[in-house]
C-alpha cells in the first residue's frame, strides 16, 4: 500500500467517523499531549482520502491531543488508493504497534471491529490475534471480549491492576445489579487484584453450583450495605466479604477449619507463640512456632507443649 506524507488541516478531517478507532483516549492522554507539545508529532497519523476530506485510520489519540493543544494541522500519511476495511484495520494495528502496546480493552474493541468488518473468526484468531500479542484461540478471544460487556469503571479497574483475561473471564456471569455491586466494590474498597479475583470468582462459582442468581447471593449476604457502611474500616470490610464468600464456596473446609480453631482456642498461647496448620487440610499436623527472646520464653514454651500433650481435646485432633 503506497502512502504519501503531507500536512493536513484539522478542519479537513472527519473526526466523527470512528470506525477504525479502538484506542481509548483515557489512557496515557496527558503523556501524549506533553510529548507532542515538547517535540512535535514524531509519528504521523494515517488518513484515508475520501470525497469529503479525510477519514482517520490510525492516530485518533494524537489528533485529539493536537486539537487540545490548539494546533491547526497534523503530519499524516495519506492513503489514496482503495482498500477494504479489514486491510485498513490491519494497517492501523501495525502502525499503532510500532508506537505503543495496546491495552486489553483496546484489543477487545479491535476484535469487535474486526468482527464488524465481516472478517472471519478463523482469520481474526489466526492472523490478527498474534499481531496484537494475543495467543490465538477462540477461548482467549471470548475471555477478552468479556471487557466489552462490563461497565467502564470495572474495565478501568482491570486495566489498572493489569489483570490477565483468565482472571476476569468469570465476570461474564455478572449482570444487572450484581455488576452494579462490583462497580461499588472497586469504587469504595479498591481491593487488591488477588482479592478481587478470589471474591468475584468465588461468588460466580457459588451461583453456578447452586443455580442461584448472583444478585440474590450478594443481597442475602448484605454485601451492598456492608461496602457502604462508613462505621467499618475498609480492610475489615474486604476481609469480611472474603470470609463470607469463602464460607459459601467451601462450606465443608470452612466448617472443619472452624472446628480446629475452636479446639485450639482452648490453648493459652502467649504473644511469642503461634499454632498453625495447613488450612487446605491436605497436609497433616500442626505447626507450632515459638519465638525465644529470653530465658523465660523457654519455660513458657515448655508449658505450652505440655498443655498440648495432655489436653484431651487436642488429642482428638490427632486421632
Amino acid at each position: 500500500m503506497k502512502l504519501d506524507k503531507s500536512a493536513i488541516k484539522l478542519s479537513d478531517i472527519d473526526m466523527g467517523n470512528e470506525f477504525f478507532r479502538y484506542s481509548d483516549e483515557r489512557y496515557d492522554a496527558e503523556a501524549l499531549m506533553e510529548s507532542i507539545s515538547y517535540s512535535g508529532m514524531l509519528n504521523p497519523v494515517i488518513l484515508l482520502e475520501s470525497e469529503d476530506g479525510y477519514r482517520v485510520v490510525a492516530g485518533f489519540r494524537r489528533i485529539k491531543a493536537v486539537v487540545k493543544l490548539g494546533l491547526n494541522e497534523v503530519q499524516a500519511y495519506i492513503i489514496k488508493n482503495k482498500a477494504n476495511d479489514e486491510e485498513l484495520l490491519k494497517l492501523s494495528i501495525l502502525e499503532n504497534q510500532s508506537t505503543r502496546a495496546l491495552n486489553l480493552y483496546e484489543k477487545a474493541v479491535l476484535l469487535s471491529k474486526l468482527k464488524d468488518t465481516g472478517t472471519s473468526q478463523k482469520k481474526i484468531i489466526n492472523i490478527f490475534m498474534p499481531i496484537i500479542n494475543l495467543s490465538p484461540s477462540l477461548k482467549h478471544m471470548e475471555e477478552i471480549m468479556t471487557l466489552r460487556e462490563i461497565p467502564a469503571q470495572l474495565v478501568d479497574y482491570i486495566i489498572s491492576k493489569d489483570l490477565s483475561a483468565r482472571k476476569f473471564r468469570h465476570l461474564k456471569y455478572y449482570s444487572g445489579s450484581s455488576l452494579a455491586f462490583l462497580v461499588d466494590f472497586v469504587d469504595y474498597l479498591n481491593p487488591g487484584a488477588n482479592l478481587f479475583v478470589e471474591i468475584t470468582r468465588g461468588l460466580a462459582e457459588v451461583s453456578k453450583r447452586d443455580d442461584k442468581e448472583l444478585d440474590d447471593i450478594i443481597d442475602s449476604q448484605e454485601f451492598p450495605q456492608l461496602i457502604k457502611d462508613i462505621t467499618i474500616e475498609k480492610g475489615k470490610k474486604i476481609n469480611e466479604i472474603r470470609e463470607k464468600v469463602f464460607d459459601l464456596r467451601y462450606p465443608v473446609l470452612s466448617k472443619e477449619n472452624r472446628k480446629i480453631e475452636q479446639k485450639l482456642g482452648i490453648i493459652n498461647t502467649q504473644s511469642n507463640q503461634d499454632i498453625e496448620w495447613d488450612r487446605s487440610l491436605e497436609k497433616k499436623g500442626l505447626q507450632v512456632r515459638l519465638m525465644l527472646n529470653k530465658q523465660e520464653d523457654l519455660k513458657t514454651s515448655m508449658i505450652l507443649l505440655k498443655e498440648m500433650e495432655t489436653n484431651q481435646v487436642l488429642k482428638d485432633l490427632f486421632s
Binding site: 483468565r166 467451601y250 465443608v252
Partner: protein, 378 residues
C-alpha cells in the same frame, strides 16, 4: 451405540493393514485422508474438541507398547497396573475425562499394529514369571467402546491366555461385549465397569451406557466365564450423593454375585489444575468444576480430605454391608493416610499394593491364578 465419525485420517504406513480396511468399511460415510504420519499429526493438532471426537487417526505404535501406569509421585500409592494403549483418546464424552483435554491430540488414535502389543504381553509375562501382572487397555481410552469395530480385545485375550501370570483387564463404560462372549479364554480376563450414580452417568458421562445396563452387561460377562471388576471412580460429592451411591451399590450386589468380582476400586473426582475451565467451557451445565477442591501435593485438584474420606468411608461400609468381605477393594491414586483412615488394608508401597492384588486374586481364584505370589518378586 454407534459413534458418528466424520473423518478418518490414515497413516500411509498402515493403509494396507486389515484393520484399516475394516475400519474404513465400518465408517464408510467418513471422509478419508491418507498421509505421512507426521504430516497428519500436525494437521490433527488444529482440530477442535468436537472435530476430534468425530475423527479417527489410524496409525501404528512406534514406541514401547506396554508402559507402567503414569501413576503418581510419592506419597500417593499407585497400583502398578501395566498400560497397553492400542487406542488413545476416546469416543465417549465424559465431562471430567482428562484425555480429551490433555493428550497431544484430541483425535481418537487407533494403532493397528497389534502384533507388537501381543508380543509385548508375552515378553512381559516371561520377564518375571514369578510376578503376577495386571494389564489394561483402559487407561488412555475406553477398552471396549470401539472394540466391535477394531476387534482388538479378542487378540489380546488370546495372547493373555498363553500367560499364567497375566490378568488382562478391559475397563469400559460401554455394554458392547457380546462379540467377546463366545471366545475361548483361560479365565484370566477381567471385564470391568466404571460405575457411578444414575445422575452422574446421565449428566456427565455422555454417550456412555446407563449404569443399570453396565451392570447387566457384567452379568453376561460372568455367564461367559469371565471375572468382573468395578470402579467407583470418580466418586462425586453432591447433595444427594449418599442416597444415590448407596442405591448403585445395592443394585450392583443384587444383580452380581460377588464371588465373580476380582476387585473394586474407589477414587474421588480429581483433575489437573485448569481443567475446570475446559469443563466449564465444553460442559456449561456441569456442576463438577464447582466442588470443594484443593491443590493436593501431587499438583492435582482433589476434594478436600473430609469430603474424600467421607465418600470412601460410606462406600466401603455399603460395599461390605452387601456381604463382600473377601472382595479386594482398593483406593485409586491416594495417599497412605487415606488408606489408614478408611481402608482395611494398608499397603506400605506401590510394590506392596501390587503384591496384595496378586495375593487376593490367587487366594480367591486359585483355579484361574494358581501361582502363589511371593513378595520378593514385587
Amino acid at each position: 451405540m454407534a459413534y458418528k465419525i466424520d473423518q478418518l485420517f490414515i497413516d500411509n504406513n498402515v493403509k494396507d493393514n486389515p484393520m484399516t480396511s475394516r475400519l474404513m468399511g465400518y465408517f464408510n460415510n467418513a471422509r478419508v485422508s491418507f498421509g505421512e504420519r507426521e504430516d497428519l499429526k500436525e494437521k490433527l493438532r488444529g482440530l477442535s474438541l468436537m472435530e476430534g471426537k468425530r475423527s479417527i487417526f489410524i496409525t501404528e505404535e512406534k514406541g514401547k507398547a506396554i508402559k507402567d501406569c503414569p501413576g503418581m509421585k510419592d506419597p500417593y500409592i499407585c497400583c502398578r497396573l501395566q498400560v497397553l494403549s492400542p487406542i488413545s483418546n476416546c469416543p465417549l464424552f465424559c465431562s471430567y475425562c482428562f484425555l480429551q483435554f490433555y493428550l497431544n491430540s484430541r483425535v481418537t488414535t487407533i494403532h493397528v499394529n497389534t502384533d507388537k502389543y501381543k508380543g509385548e504381553i508375552i515378553d512381559l509375562s516371561a520377564s518375571n514369571p514369578k510376578r503376577f501382572f495386571r494389564i489394561t487397555t483402559g487407561e488412555l481410552s475406553d477398552s471396549l467402546a470401539l472394540d466391535e469395530e477394531t476387534r482388538i480385545s479378542e487378540q489380546f485375550i488370546k495372547a493373555a491366555g498363553k500367560c499364567d501370570n497375566i490378568a488382562l483387564e478391559l475397563k469400559t463404560k460401554s455394554t458392547k461385549i457380546d462379540h467377546l462372549l463366545r471366545l475361548e479364554h483361560n479365565g484370566n480376563v477381567i471385564f470391568s465397569w466404571s460405575l457411578n450414580t444414575d445422575k452422574i452417568a446421565v449428566e456427565e458421562e455422555h454417550l456412555s451406557a446407563p449404569v443399570e445396563e453396565r451392570i447387566l452387561a457384567a452379568r453376561r460377562a460372568i455367564d461367559a466365564g469371565y471375572l468382573v471388576g468395578f470402579h467407583f471412580d470418580p466418586l462425586v460429592w453432591y447433595s444427594s450423593w449418599e442416597e444415590d451411591y448407596r442405591k448403585t451399590v445395592e443394585y450392583l450386589f443384587r444383580m452380581i454375585d460377588n464371588k465373580h468380582i476380582a476387585w473394586i476400586s474407589l477414587g474421588t473426582l480429581r483433575f489437573a489444575p485448569g481443567m475446570e475451565e475446559e469443563m466449564q467451557r465444553y460442559f456449561p451445565k456441569s456442576k463438577l468444576p464447582y466442588g470443594e477442591f484443593v491443590k493436593a501435593t501431587d499438583g492435582k485438584m482433589r476434594y478436600v480430605k473430609p469430603i474424600r474420606y467421607e465418600l470412601y468411608r460410606y462406600m466401603m461400609r455399603w460395599i461390605r454391608e452387601c456381604g463382600t468381605e473377601s472382595v479386594f477393594v482398593y483406593l485409586c491414586m491416594e495417599r497412605p493416610d487415606a488408606w489408614e483412615e478408611v481402608m482395611e488394608i494398608r499397603p506400605q508401597s506401590k510394590e506392596h499394593l501390587d503384591y496384595l492384588f496378586a495375593d487376593s486374586i490367587h487366594k480367591r481364584f486359585p483355579e484361574r491364578f494358581p501361582q502363589m505370589p511371593m513378595i520378593d518378586y514385587y
